[in-house]
């Protein structure tokens, strides 16, 4: 029941490929000290079936993060971030659990529990992910303004991209 289909695995690989080959190159600096990064790979962890073991998800997150890190040349930064997102995921799932419960064995989809639920669930986790990413990247809250501005701008673009993709496919 915890098996992923070959199609899903290929789509994960595609997400990572798009992230590291395409979106990595779109890092736009603005106002001298801020920069925009588009991060879509956390969607893999975010949308894994609810029935997946929490430890398994965390280990998967670590692995995916490391792969991304290899391409971003930032050993551990994406891994630490995605592991944190994976950990938070189970808490968020518990907090915003629909009244009728989860369809545990399927990938989380926009039409399972209503679009509003899907938008807020993806939004919360993606925002946390991007915030943690910029925090670890800056590694000091001395840069708190930079962290917040980068997070908000990057979150908006990444979120729109993911939602657009999910609404189309």
């Amino acid at each position: 029941m915890n098996r992923l289909t070959a199609g899903q695995l290929i789509s994960f690989a595609l997400f990572i490929a798009i992230q590291v080959l395409l979106l990595k190159n779109i890092q736009i600096a603005f106002l001298e000290q801020f920069s925009l990064s588009i991060l879509i790979y956390p969607i893999i962890i975010i949308l894994l079936p609810v029935s997946f073991g929490r430890s398994a998800i965390i280990v998967s997150a670590f692995a995916i993060g490391l792969i991304v890190d290899v391409f971003y040349d930032s050993p551990g930064v994406h891994a630490a971030t995605l592991v944190f997102t994976a950990f938070i995921r189970s808490i968020v799932l518990g907090l915003i659990e629909p009244r009728l419960g989860y369809r545990a064995n399927d990938m989380i989809e926009k039409d399972h529990y209503g679009l509003n639920w899907f938008l807020s669930y993806v939004g919360i986790l993606l925002f946390v992910h991007i915030f943690i990413y910029f925090s670890i990247d800056a590694f000091s809250f001395v840069f708190i303004l930079k962290i917040f501005v980068n997070t908000i701008v990057s979150f908006i673009v990444s979120y729109l991209l993911i939602i657009l993709y999910k609404l189309i496919f």
């Binding site: 551990g76 930064v77 891994a79 630490a80 950990f87 000091s140």
Partner: protein, 268 residues
């Protein structure tokens, strides 16, 4: 089926989470220069601050000593500068040095009287004697009047009794600097003949005709001038270049040839 009932009890995932985060952060700190720098800096932040505070306290306690060292160094350099024109050899022998420079600190200063005196913290044990010149890098201060073992009393330029032989820079005419006892921003230079050429702003310097000051030390700049009553000499107002209201460190100049010069004059 409720999420809480899906069977993921216990804390195994928390341990997995912590282990993965630990691994990730080990990677971050070992392989990312920026984060590594910040990490190393942060972990030494507390001890670093402590060390900095203690160093600051230590610095403060040794301020006096470092000041004295700097003063001695300045005196040595000033000594070299003053003796440069007179010494032809690159490094003059101790016996050949015309002026010795003795650093001193002002411990009492006055500018409100008409006979202002300055007390310095050097006396006869530091080989200070009467009639030595006292100067700062900005300009001359006065002449030593009385000396005891530890301290000396200096007649300030701001004393109606002072007479200092002075010239306008690059002019050979010499006159006398006096103070009228009014403004501490104004000295008077008398005895410059009416045919001398100079302008407002020209420098007034010591002329080296006495054994008190070497030639060319700054006294002040010409503020205004007028023809005197007898019509033969200018009466020149000079703004002193020394800020007498803000004196701290001074240098006492000792002419090592003074005895020779004085005995020569007495022979005549």
């Amino acid at each position: 089926m409720s999420y809480q009932q899906t069977g993921f009890k216990g804390f195994a995932h928390i341990i997995t989470f912590l282990v993965c985060e630990l691994l990730a952060f080990i990677l971050i700190i070992n392989f990312n220069q920026t984060q590594r720098d910040i990490f190393l800096h942060s972990s030494s932040l507390f001890s670093g601050n402590l060390l900095k505070t203690s160093a600051q306290v230590k610095d403060y306690l040794s301020l006096q000593q470092s000041n004295d060292e700097l003063l001695a160094e300045n005196a040595r350099l000033l000594n070299e500068i003053i003796n440069m024109p007179r010494s032809e050899a690159p490094v003059p022998d101790a016996g050949q040095i015309a002026y010795s420079v003795i650093p001193a600190r002002i411990i009492n200063n006055n500018i409100t009287s008409v006979r202002n005196l300055i007390t310095i913290d050097k006396g006869s044990r530091d080989s200070i004697a009467t009639s030595l010149g006292v100067t700062t890098p900005d300009g001359i201060v006065g002449i030593v009047r009385t000396v005891n073992h530890q301290f000396s009393s200096v007649i300030s330029l701001l004393n109606i009794e002072i007479r200092i032989s002075a010239s306008i820079e690059n002019e050979n005419y010499f006159g006398t600097i006096t103070w009228d006892g009014k403004s501490y921003k104004s000295l008077s230079l008398s005895g410059i003949p009416i045919h001398a050429n100079f302008e407002i702003g020209d420098k007034v310097v010591t002329n080296g005709y006495s054994t008190i000051f070497p030639e060319g030390l700054l006294i002040g700049t010409i503020a205004s001038f007028d023809v005197g009553k007898d019509g033969a000499f200018f009466e020149i107002e000079v703004t002193p270049s020394t800020d007498f209201a803000n004196l701290d460190h001074v240098y006492v100049l000792k002419d090592n040839f003074a005895a020779d010069i004085i005995s020569l004059n007495q022979d005549e």
